[in-house]
Assembly symmetry: C2
Homo-oligomer: 192 residues x 2
DNA sequence: GCTCCATGTCAACGACTGTTGACTTTAGAA
DNA sequence: TTCTAAAGTCAACAGTCGTTGACATGGAGC
């Protein structure tokens, strides 16, 4: 029995959202160059040409799909000694919330626009948070860079490289290990 | 005046080495998919077909070019409290020694074979080093994973994403900041 | 000198890519 | 119902990719 598959109602906004979701999925799973317009369109159940019509070209599609809001919490109400663990805990849930973070991370290693975006995300979102806890602006930049290195490194190993012990660890364990590291990068000093 | 450019003497071993060098350069700069056989051949000053003749296909070429030896030092003669800083210092010079580490890192984010290789490198080279300092094998695996996350994260931010403050920092500064982190991952405990 | 095999070049293949323009179909206004 | 602009489809383009097989060339041994 051949059944005509019911076409979704023609809704530009819904189609646009479906394309963005599909794009995030493919970019996160395959990286920028291996995620093809055709694969994204197939995932969204539409024609590849429509993707171009909605977003112009692949670069602009990526830019629209990889708009990343870390949603960082306000740490000023916490005891200063707890900010490290709190920040780690926040990232652990943020990573799993959607595909945007991983898509941007994977793409950033081979696409300069994505790398630039990633730098901007940390400079504009993590930077001020660090500055509110820290001394001079120059010092805050260094601290933010160190935090980025550990946060991105864990995301890379756990979600991109799939390093076995890290994939299997519980969130509380990871907070226990990484929390003191981030705490020192935020409020401690080098050397000790 | 037209001068015929002097062809290099026909030396299979030298050509093979030139291809490997060119491949490491392109893979490190562009990642796996954007580094084309044609670009690698051009960099080596030969015909693309020759690359295939020497290495079979692109995957095998990458496998040959990305054979990574971390050259980790023996830390057993050091005071236990110094191993973190020593390991960080070693990686800082290892990263700059050649293009292999960065090539493997960049490729690992979009190529499963490269990711598998990267996991193997850390499991086989960092793992035993950690085990020699640590208790049970399971515990050593976790510690090695944590070390990987910080080491790879810093390499990613400093050499791939080019995060400004990290690029500009001196090696001693980085040892000062990262040393205690790695020290705790190697010999310390979670929570504190 | 000549021969022969390793070394290297050349042109082309099929597949896949982003992108385009012409075409068709649908929903809603008139 | 009729008309129209929006929404979606289709086939094809030009370019690039990895890879291949036929061909050219050079140097070591006779």
């Amino acid at each position: 029995m051949t059944r005509k598959q019911s076409p979704r109602p023609r809704d530009a906004e819904a189609t646009r959202a479906a394309i963005l979701d599909a794009a995030r999925l493919r970019f996160a799973a395959d990286g920028y160059e291996r995620a093809t317009i055709r694969a994204i369109a197939a995932e969204a159940g539409i024609d590849p040409a429509l993707v171009i019509r909605y977003f112009g070209n692949k670069e602009k599609l990526f830019a629209a799909a990889a708009e990343l809001d870390l949603g960082l919490p306000d740490l000023s109400s916490l005891p200063r000694s707890r900010v490290g663990a709190a920040l780690v805990a926040h990232f652990l849930v943020r990573w799993e919330a959607d595909d945007i973070f991983i898509a941007l991370l994977r793409a950033a290693t081979t696409n300069e626009a994505a790398a630039s975006r990633m730098r901007a995300v940390f400079a504009e979102q993590v930077g001020p948070l660090v500055a509110s806890l820290s001394g001079s602006a120059a010092e805050a930049q260094i601290r933010a860079g160190l935090v980025s290195s550990q946060i991105l490194g864990m995301a890379l190993c756990r979600y991109v490289l799939n390093v076995p012990p890290l994939v299997g660890m519980k969130d509380e364990e990871l907070v226990g290990w990484m929390g003191p590291t981030i705490q020192r990068y935020l409020t401690g000093s080098a050397g000790k």
